[in-house]
């Protein structure tokens, strides 16, 4: 019981760190949103794309992993078929992303 009581004091510590981290994150986001220099990226810091394939890629595949640096055109269909099952892609999303990856 003593240990549990002493541990409960420490419960405040991770909560405080998490809140501090969140505040710092928001502060940085607010600062970067005011400034211009936002760098484009395949997955990060990118506003929603206008290309349907790119948008579908960002909305589905990019949620769990970065895109492969190199993707042979010979395997894009296989990879997309795999992702259709893993990420519950609709057939339309599969076609759009395939077109986006192998234009």
């Amino acid at each position: 019981m003593k240990n549990i009581r002493s541990n409960s004091k420490y419960a405040v510590l991770p909560l405080a760190i998490f809140l501090l981290g969140s505040i710092l994150t928001w502060a940085q986001v607010a600062t970067s949103a005011q400034g211009a220099g936002r760098a484009p990226s395949a997955q990060h810091a990118k506003p929603a794309a206008t290309n349907p394939g790119e948008r579908a890629f960002q909305a589905n595949c990019g949620r769990c992993h970065n895109p492969p640096e190199q993707l042979s055109p010979r395997v894009t269909g296989t990879v997309l078929r795999h992702m259709r099952e893993r990420a519950l892609l609709s057939p339309q999303d599969e076609r759009d992303i395939l077109k986006y990856l192998t234009p």
Partner: protein
């Protein structure tokens, strides 16, 4: 006696031959464009080296996790993932020579049938779809922190994989929102590499693609031994405008419950994702478990536990990633410091050349 024996042999051998002939015929009659063009089977996955220090005891694990994916015609897909790893630690904990063991497991080996736009039927061995961590984040080239969350065993007993059948798809797929469903049944198995518990369950997600917000709920019922229920909920938020990712899960089991919340922030806004600092990704995870009653063998901490994990990942070029983390665990059974560092290389290549 002899004629009976040979007749028995004929009866048992013939179906196997027939199945083999039909399978070969099916493979030979596959549409040509699916064996070439963009549908060449792939070998993917990762190799990694993990080093951990838990309460002063050091151990390391070389890991090879290959994924094989092969389309079979227009409606079928065969896919599998294996995990081969060594586990090395000192003989007496923190002294003596290193000694090791080798483990291999089949995480999934499944055949998918795309029956309709909104229905995929899977048979074989698949990852148990409870919560999000097991299906989406256990791959060693995806996970941000080496150790799985403390509540991971809830809903994924006994091995994180199920043997049986699963249906999944998008119940509603509108541009503004998706409603996804998964339902499964698993049979009990003690076969080597294919251990699984008898269980059934489902998961529902509501996903808003324009906001990249997802909420969902999971349910699983363990149907062997003492039947019990597991339920859970998850929330993911990954805004487009900045590289913040927030993932969280709550799970409630028969003897314990808990949650984890993880946030990552890749510093890609500073000179791009390929710059020196842009490759850095700090990770923070907070988690807590609450023990309601003793549950020996359920894989969860024996007492109420709080843990905070600080990670720092570095995305090196050529699909190499360096992950590191420090965790502080606070529990009535003993506090602990956990240090992890790992290096992974992700690969993907076609099985053969194929036609352009």
């Amino acid at each position: 006696m002899r004629p009976i024996k040979s007749a028995k042999l004929k009866q048992t051998r013939f179906p196997r031959v027939a199945i083999a002939v039909r399978l070969a015929g099916f493979l030979l009659l596959l549409p040509g464009h699916l064996l070439s063009a963009q549908y060449v089977p792939i070998v993917s996955g990762a190799v990694g080296f993990f080093d951990s220090k838990n309460t002063g005891i050091n151990f390391f694990q070389p890991v090879f996790a290959p994924v094989v994916v092969a389309p079979l015609g227009k409606h079928f897909l065969a896919e599998s993932r294996f995990d081969l790893r060594g586990f090395y630690e000192r003989k007496n904990g923190n002294s003596g020579p290193y000694q090791g063991s080798f483990f291999r497991s089949t995480q999934y080996l499944q055949l998918d049938y795309f029956a309709a736009d909104k229905l995929t039927i899977t048979a074989g061995r698949f990852l148990t779809p409870f919560g999000t961590y097991n299906e989406r984040l256990t791959a060693i080239w995806i996970q941000k922190i080496q150790d799985a969350p403390l509540i991971f065993p809830i809903g994924t007993r006994t091995t994180g994989s199920s043997n049986g059948a699963m249906v999944r798809g998008a119940l509603i797929a509108k541009p503004a929102f998706h409603v996804n469903y998964i339902g499964y049944f698993s049979a009990s198995s003690n076969a080597p590499q294919f251990q699984a518990g008898r269980a059934a369950g489902y998961r529902f997600d509501l996903y808003l693609p324009n906001k990249r917000v997802e909420v969902g709920t999971s349910y699983g019922r363990f149907l062997q031994g003492t039947h019990n229920n597991s339920s859970g909920a998850h929330f993911w938020w990954q805004p487009y405008r900045f590289p913040l990712e927030v993932r969280s899960e709550y799970a409630h089991g028969a003897h314990a419950q808990g949650y984890w919340i993880e946030s990552t922030y890749r510093l890609s806004q500073w000179r791009g994702p390929d710059s020196l600092f842009g490759r850095l990704e700090p990770v923070f995870r907070m988690q807590q478990t609450f023990r309601n009653s003793p549950g020996p063998g359920d894989g969860l901490p024996a007492a109420d536990t709080k843990q905070v994990d600080f990670g720092l990942d570095y995305h090196l070029p050529h699909e190499v990633r360096l992950n590191s983390s420090y965790s502080r665990k606070l529990s009535a059974t003993g506090n602990a410091n956990i240090w992890d560092i790992s290096l992974t290389y992700r690969f993907l290549f076609p099985m053969w050349r194929g036609h352009q």
